[in-house]
């Protein structure tokens, strides 16, 4: 008898099957993910979780008898009152003879519950989304270095000795310089030995030849330091793409909790998304009233503030932070601004100028989210006056800046709007923009 402890065997044996299954049911899983994303809070948006698939698409059919019709007989345990010849009224709804028969294969045909890991969920959640202008890559620090093989060198550490190449060099040198082979020497010795004692002249000749060859062997080494080669490696700095995300928000009195919540949800989505694309993502929170300041996340969302609304202050603050810490040469810069659209009328022009002249040229992408009160969620087609900012920004976008803006009135709109902003552009669309 052997006892084998298999608990330490590598786990995840079923991963390949799981991936095949996911690929098979992909369209259904995708749909389920989007439905479930609508029903859960954004905070848990990047958690994995259970989704429910209809059993239909992953059904495995087989030839089996149907559950109805024909003549069937049943053998049941636990008879108490019946005697042979009794009739029993057919139980309503069921076809079984008084008991509940299990389904033939013991498996229900209910919907299929399926648990997705966090990565799988995010993958599907953000599928088909693409960051605009992802190209900027930049070396950050020296520790990200990869080594590539790069030919041979004549110096190096013994561990990197390239044996094949060394012996090859040695062989060609020995051939070129006519280093006598051991077999040749042996043949000469054998010949001398085999000679008749009388043939002195011949012996002398042969011995001289042998001595000459031996000398040559001594002069020409088997492996010369010249032959030795080492495998050479070159270090390449690995490009590390990094991004900084600026969250700008109006926190003046006109912004309600509801509006801030909408803004936050959008930032969270953007953060998850950036995190997927860049190893290193930093977030800067800038809030503004009639003056702006960089704050931490807690303050950003939670501490109340009063004052007027001057958007340009936030842009100036952003510009300051960029100059200070995030040089556009090294960083991919994304900005998302949430506001209810109010701005001091005199500031509009300054805002537009700041955006077009300094901010937008440095940014990969600038998203403006105009949040409205839930009650103000007008039906489509209802004409209302556009806000100050909206009008200002419309003019900027018309000039083809890397900027997008949307209006959001309800939590459920956040995700569609987000998808809409970052949906992969097809060739034609991209060209049209």
């Amino acid at each position: 008898m052997h006892i084998v402890d298999r608990r330490l065997n590598p786990s995840g044996k079923n991963l390949a099957n799981r991936q095949r299954f996911m690929r098979r049911a992909k369209s259904q899983i995708r749909k389920a993910v989007h439905e479930s994303a609508g029903s859960r809070g954004i905070k848990d948006a990047d958690e994995g979780g259970e989704v429910v698939l209809p059993a239909q698409g992953v059904h495995e059919p087989s030839f089996r008898r149907s559950g109805t019709g024909g003549i069937r007989d049943h053998l049941l345990p636990g008879n108490k009152e019946y005697i042979a010849g009794d009739t029993i009224p057919r139980p309503p709804g069921g076809d079984g003879g008084g008991g509940s028969e299990g389904s033939p294969d013991g498996e229900g045909e209910d919907d299929f519950r399926f648990a997705l890991s966090r990565d799988e969920f995010i993958e599907l959640f953000l599928e088909d989304l693409e960051l605009p202008d992802l190209a900027k890559r930049r070396v950050v620090n020296a520790d990200a270095v990869v080594f590539h093989r790069a030919g041979y060198s004549v110096s190096g550490s013994p561990a990197n000795l390239a044996l094949n190449r060394t012996v090859r060099n040695s062989l060609s040198r020995r051939i070129a310089l006519h280093r006598p082979k051991p077999e040749e020497l042996q043949a000469l010795r054998d010949a001398i030995e085999a000679l008749d004692p009388s043939e002195d002249a011949k012996r002398a000749a042969l011995e001289e030849e042998l001595a000459r060859k031996q000398r040559r062997t001594g002069i020409i080494p088997y492996i010369d330091p010249l032959d030795v080669r080492y495998r050479r490696f070159e270090s390449h700095p690995r490009p590390v793409a990094q991004a900084v995300m600026f969250c700008l928000m109006d926190v003046s009195g006109s912004m309600t909790e509801h509006m801030k919540d909408l803004g936050k949800r959008f930032y969270v989505l953007l953060y998850i998304f950036l995190k997927r694309r860049y190893k290193n993502v930093e977030v800067v929170f800038i809030r503004h009233t009639h003056q702006a300041s960089e704050v931490d996340e807690e303050t950003f969302f939670n501490s109340p503030e009063t004052g007027g609304t001057v958007v340009s202050t936030a842009l100036e603050e952003m510009q300051r932070v960029i100059l200070d810490r995030y040089s556009p040469d090294n960083w991919n810069i994304y900005a998302a601004q949430a506001s209810d659209g109010d701005n001091t009328a005199s500031d509009n022009e300054k805002t537009a100028a700041l955006l077009t002249k300094t901010i937008l040229p440095e940014c990969q992408y600038y998203a403006y989210l105009e949040v409205g009160r839930d009650a103000e969620h007008f039906p489509p087609g209802f004409i209302r006056r556009d806000s100050d900012l909206w009008q200002t920004y419309t003019a900027i976008i018309r000039n083809g800046a890397p900027m997008a803006m949307r209006k959001v009135g309800h939590r459920r709109d956040i995700y569609p709007v987000f998808r809409d902003l970052f949906a992969k552009k097809t060739g034609a669309e991209a060209a049209a923009e």
Partner: protein, 522 residues
């Protein structure tokens, strides 16, 4: 002397904890009882301790330690995992594989008592049954199965590399759909030697490569070789029609399948065949294993090797396993094979040792023979569920379970009680119950009956609808579609009432491209 006595009487373990030494000791003590006292004959045991995830793994690949890859296994894994994590379903305490050496998987979470129980149950009960039952000897090759599975896995992986995962997946989908009709129900020439399968396949391919000559491609085609259309009878004989092993027929006769596709069909078919005996011996197999563990655990307790506490734990678990709810109970889900099997084995023991007048009348050949182990070993070796019940279901058990037989004719307004557990009913109930375990009665009788290879190549199948019970229509259509995809031409299935030969229903399917190249219809 007294000291040795005390040592042998010391319990094997106390409390729930165990380590490998405990398992070894339990195994050795169980082995003494099983081999010497019960006279069992088993393959060498290999006991493997596994964790939860590995048990789920084993679940999804029908208990096999290694298996090829397919999405359906991922589906089963996910289903089981989700159910398990949600606490809706417990996991089995063990899984045992019919191989030599006999591999039993035991869960690391089990208590020491449970490990003892599963070793007795699986490593001796099931193991003895696998080694001795005639069906397993006839149909399975315990020595070769692991090697064959390894070959199957490698072969299918290499096909995926050569032909793409999608192509292999489509083929396996179709093969799996037909797996329930991929067994030979009667032995043909001889049991397949699985070890040589791999060699054969290699030789076949090498031969093909050796005799390959590109010139043959350029030789003009032969004139139509067959001048006179053969008579239908002759044609059927050539194709071995009618044929109930549909996958076998596809492998041998489907006109457009590539050699690797045939080989994969063959793999699926051989694995289906390997599991064929298990489906016919559920009651006996579990009965044998349950009876074995029950006997062994009691003997261990008598010898003082099990504490009273462990014994109570065992009895509680054992009682759960052999519980049979009555038909009007909400928990009722068919007859429990553990309950029926165990009860019948115990009943045979009773008939052998303490027969009543009734037993003497019903079982004259064994009643009072006093050698119940001999009778049981003979039963385990030479019967399957159907014949076993037909032979050994005693009137006492029919009364004990309160079995009754109900007829349900869709044309009648009411159900009718045909027989109950009384003098007139015993035989009827015995026969009806035995029929429930008869494979040919349980699975739909579907046969390939005709194909015109010279004409439109339409494949015709008949389903002889026993008692006018038709196939589930949705599933039948899907499977038929798979069949058409394999066949490459149209397929027609007729459902026939075997009493009158009237056609009750027809299904037809046309091939989709994907598995084989489809010629556009003329």
């Amino acid at each position: 002397m007294s000291s040795t006595l005390i040592r042998t009487e010391r319990p094997l373990f106390e409390g729930a904890d165990w380590e490998f030494g405990t398992i070894q000791r339990c195994h050795d003590e169980i082995e003494k009882i099983a081999l010497k006292e019960m006279g069992l004959d088993v393959y060498t045991n290999q006991i493997e301790v596994i964790g939860t995830e590995q048990m789920l793994d084993a679940y999804s690949s029908i208990g096999m330690p290694l298996f090829y890859k397919h999405w359906s296994f991922g589906k089963h894994f996910s289903r089981n995992e989700t159910m398990y994590r949600a606490g809706m379903q417990g996991l089995a305490y063990e899984i045992v594989i019919n191989s030599n050496p006999c591999i039993s998987y035991i869960m690391e979470e089990n208590t020491a008592m449970m490990q003892t129980l599963v070793i007795a149950h699986a490593a001796f009960g099931h193991n003895h049954f696998f080694k001795n039952n005639y069906l397993f000897q006839q149909w399975t090759d315990a020595n070769g199965i692991l090697d064959y599975l390894e070959f199957a896995k490698d072969y299918i992986t290499s096909c995926e590399e050569r032909h793409g995962e999608a192509a292999v997946e489509r083929l396996l989908d179709a093969a799996h759909a037909l797996m329930s009709h991929a067994v030979h129900k009667y032995p043909r020439k001889r049991a397949a030697d699985l070890r040589s399968e791999e060699k054969r396949e290699r030789e076949r391919r090498e031969h093909d490569e050796k005799v390959f000559n590109d010139l043959w491609r350029t030789v003009p085609g032969k004139e139509n070789a067959r001048h006179d259309p053969t008579a239908a009878e002759q044609r059927k004989a050539l194709l071995e029609l009618p044929q109930e092993n549909i996958l076998y027929f596809m492998e041998k006769s489907a006109p457009r399948l590539a050699p690797w596709q045939r080989e994969i069909l063959r793999i699926v078919r051989i694995i289906a065949q390997y599991f064929y005996p298990q489906s016919q011996t559920k009651v006996m197999n579990e009965g044998c294993a349950t009876y074995t563990h029950y006997t062994i655990m009691n003997r261990l307790h008598e010898k003082g090797l099990l504490t009273d506490g462990a014994m109570v734990e065992f009895l509680s678990s054992h009682t759960n396993v052999v519980f049979q709810p009555e038909f009007d109970d909400r928990r009722y889900n068919g007859l429990n094979p553990y309950a029926l099997g165990f009860a019948m084995m115990q009943d045979i023991e009773r008939i052998c040792t303490l027969p009543t007048a009734e037993d003497k009348q019903w079982f004259p050949h064994i009643a009072g023979c006093n050698d119940h182990m001999n009778v049981l070993r003979d039963v385990w070796a030479n019967y399957r569920d159907e014949s076993f019940i037909l032979q050994y279901l005693s009137p006492k058990l029919v009364r004990h379970f309160g079995l009754f037989h109900v007829m349900d004719d869709a044309d009648e307004p009411n159900l009718r009680v045909e027989a109950i557990h009384d003098e007139r009913g015993y035989r009827k109930i015995k026969q009806a119950l035995a029929r429930h375990y008869d494979v040919s009665w349980n699975s739909a009788d579907i046969q390939v009956v005709d194909v015109n290879l010279a004409g439109d190549r339409r494949l015709i199948l008949h389903h002889r609808a026993l008692n006018r019970v038709l196939l589930d229509e949705k599933d039948a259509r899907l499977v038929l579609q798979h069949l058409a995809d394999l066949w490459g031409y149209n397929v027609l299935m007729k459902e026939i009432d075997p009493a009158t030969d009237a056609v009750l229903k027809e299904h037809a399917a046309s091939p989709r491209p994907g598995i084989v190249r489809i010629e556009p219809a003329a």
